[in-house]
């Protein structure tokens, strides 16, 4: 293994890990607070890509506007998703199958979003202008595009921002309180009816920003969210559902595994190898790296 390989793997780890973390952390936030595995997060990535395409490629505006609009747009979509697919089911929250029902309803919402996108934008892939073009040669031919670098930086900034939000602000603390004990949180006067849509909107907005960057790396298409969803699922299983630190470690660990696999066995086998690793982790630790059975989440 040459030095070039090592640098290449590190670059892949950091860029892939950051973007995985951004998409997966939303799923973790939702699962930790609402006990819902939100299958519509892939659609949010897709929506973010299309917003980026509309703002930058069609309207020709500034990338910063694209990011802000993607944040706002997917926040609204996420809130709507919550109101449609989760809110009516909350009275059945204590039924054993709540997680399964919401898995199916959010899946249904994703189905609707994908097909509405198919109707509106057609099946073809759209080229999204990169947020920033160019790149630097870091070491002996290993190229780091500014797009990937910006993506990593923005992702890390957002993750840190989310951490600060959860730790310091009133709403953040309210989210954590609900994650720890729903009934106690309600008794302290936390407005659940507003908190749930807020949480899901926030998580969706993170995935939407992920979509702006992923759209620049790949394309915007109705199916653009499928692979990010799968990767985010793998990350959240690996890290343990509902554990924020676990998700972030897992995102970079998965980036590392994928980067290594891509260099040594090629892109085709990186996903199956990843899956093999997940299998082994789950056989050894059924709740993922840092997951806990039911208590002490977030």
């Amino acid at each position: 293994m040459s030095m070039t390989d090592v640098v290449g793997i590190l670059v892949t780890t950091i860029t892939l890990g950051s973007i995985y973390g951004l998409v997966a952390i939303g799923m973790t936030l939702i699962y930790g607070t609402l006990r819902i595995l939100d299958m519509s997060q892939g659609s949010m990535v897709m929506a973010g890509s299309f917003i980026a395409w509309g703002v930058m490629a069609v309207a020709g505006w500034n990338p910063v506007i694209a990011i802000l609009l993607a944040f706002a747009g997917t926040f609204v979509l996420g809130t709507l998703t919550q109101l449609v697919s989760v809110q009516p089911l909350l009275s059945r929250r204590n039924v054993v199958d709540f997680e399964m029902i919401t898995f199916i309803t959010t899946f249904a919402v994703a189905l609707v979003f994908t097909n509405v996108a198919l109707q509106v934008f057609g099946p073809y892939q759209k080229n999204v202008t990169p947020v920033i073009s160019g790149g630097i040669n870091i070491y002996n031919g290993v190229n780091l595009s500014y797009q990937a670098l910006t993506m990593a930086l923005v992702s890390v900034a957002l993750m840190v921002g989310l951490g600060v939000f959860l730790a310091r602000t009133r709403w953040g603390m309210a989210i954590r309180a609900v994650a720890q004990d729903l009934d106690a949180a309600r008794l302290m006067g936390i407005p659940i009816g507003k908190l749930y849509p807020l949480t899901m909107g926030l998580a969706s907005a993170l995935a939407g920003i992920g979509g702006v960057f992923l759209g620049g790396l790949y394309f915007a298409s109705p199916q653009a969210g499928d692979l990010p969803l799968l990767e985010a699922l793998i990350v959240v299983i690996f890290g343990g559902l509902g554990s924020l630190p676990g998700t972030i470690y897992a995102a970079y660990a998965i980036g590392l595994i994928q980067g290594t696999a891509e260099i040594f066995v090629g892109t085709t086998w990186s996903l199956p190898i990843l899956y093999g690793v997940i299998l082994i982790v789950l056989i050894a630790r059924p709740h993922g790296l840092l997951g806990k059975p039911a208590e002490a989440r977030l």
Partner: protein, 344 residues
């Protein structure tokens, strides 16, 4: 003794339905309609298997399409590369499905609910991804499997269509009867017990591990069989038979019908097939409608349409028998309550 009117009516209704479907080809419908029916019956077989593991056994397996696909590819490989007669190749695909299904069951044994669905869902996606990117030529990659002879390659196209129609009808009826019998047997009772109260069932000496393996084996066999029949009928299979779009259709089918009920897959498959056939020229609209429909049923009609019908029927029966209710009536109602399956 007196049974609820619904349960006396059911065998008769089922017989009429099967007979109607069986004589349909005698009316000389177009090949298009026959193939719509055959495709729906193959999907029904898949949905029966999925409904069994998800609804009856309560294992959140969302990897069923991988088993279906692998059953198809397995049967195709046997047809092309082995001297076995085609029907043995189909059986081989089904057995392969059962074996792979049991193999997936092993890592899920220690997992709790949602983790099972994640692991199996990711398994299905990875299998599809591997086949899509397969460069060895064995599976044909994204272009689809090379043409396989199928079950009735000796017959003329019209005769082969009828042969497929009746063969698959027999298989589906047998599968439905077998699954219903298993669900009612001691094994099925144990499966439902583990689903509804795992700790209590285990305390009563039911082994959740062994049962989960058995459930995976049965449902894997049926899913593999469905895949092998799909390959035979279409003489090919491609990775697009797996993945998210077909999964959303199948999930819509058995959830709308009523998860865990005997007739749920039948009702759901029929209904969704009707919607799809009516909107065949507007695939996007079709899927959107299905998504909205799925959402509405899950949110507002827990238990699916079969559950809704059963509840309505019971209410009507109760209303009709309001005066002469005796203990037997109450026992019947309680029995039906138990028989009516768990809400999705």
């Amino acid at each position: 003794m007196t049974r609820a009117p619904m349960s006396r009516l059911q065998p008769a209704l089922a017989a009429v339905l099967v007979l109607t479907i069986a004589v349909f080809p005698l009316d000389h419908p177009t090949q298009y309609w026959l193939s719509v029916f055959v495709t729906a019956m193959i999907l029904l077989l898949l949905n029966i298997s999925w409904n069994f593991i998800l609804g009856v056994a309560g294992v959140w397996n969302f990897g069923q399409l991988a088993i279906y696909g692998l059953g198809g590819y397995g049967a195709g490989l046997l047809m092309l590369h082995s001297p076995l007669p085609p029907w043995l190749a189909v059986l081989g695909g089904a057995l392969g499905g059962a074996v792979i299904s049991v193999l997936i069951a092993v890592p899920t044994l220690r997992l709790y609910g949602i983790y099972t669905s994640l692991l199996t869902f990711a398994f299905a996606e990875v299998i599809q991804y591997v086949i899509l990117n397969d460069g060895t030529g064995l599976t044909g990659g994204s272009a689809g499997f090379p043409t396989a002879p199928g079950l009735f390659s000796a017959l003329s196209p019209d005769a082969a269509m009828n042969a497929y129609y009746w063969t698959i009808l027999v298989v589906v009826v047998l599968a439905m009867a077998a699954v219903a019998a298993i669900t009612r047997s001691r094994l099925g009772m144990a499966l439902r017990a583990v689903r509804d109260a795992p700790a209590y069932a285990a305390a009563r000496g039911v082994s959740p591990l062994r049962l989960r393996m058995v459930a995976f084996a049965i449902s894997g066999f049926l899913a593999g069989l469905a895949g092998a029949l799909y390959l035979s009928f279409n003489q090919s299979i491609s990775p697009s038979a797996m993945g998210l779009p077909p999964m959303s259709v199948d999930v819509t089918m058995f959830v709308i019908g009523g998860l865990g009920t005997m007739y749920g897959p039948l009702v759901g498959t029929a209904l969704v097939t009707i919607v799809q056939t009516a909107l065949v020229t507007h695939p996007g609209v079709q899927q959107t409608i299905l998504g909205v429909f799925l959402l509405i049923v899950v949110v507002f009609v827990p238990g699916g349409l079969v559950g809704l019908v059963a509840r309505t029927w019971r209410r009507v029966a109760e209303w009709a028998d309001e005066d002469d209710d005796d203990e037997e009536e109450a026992a019947d109602a309680a029995q039906q309550e138990g028989a009516e399956q768990h809400v999705a």
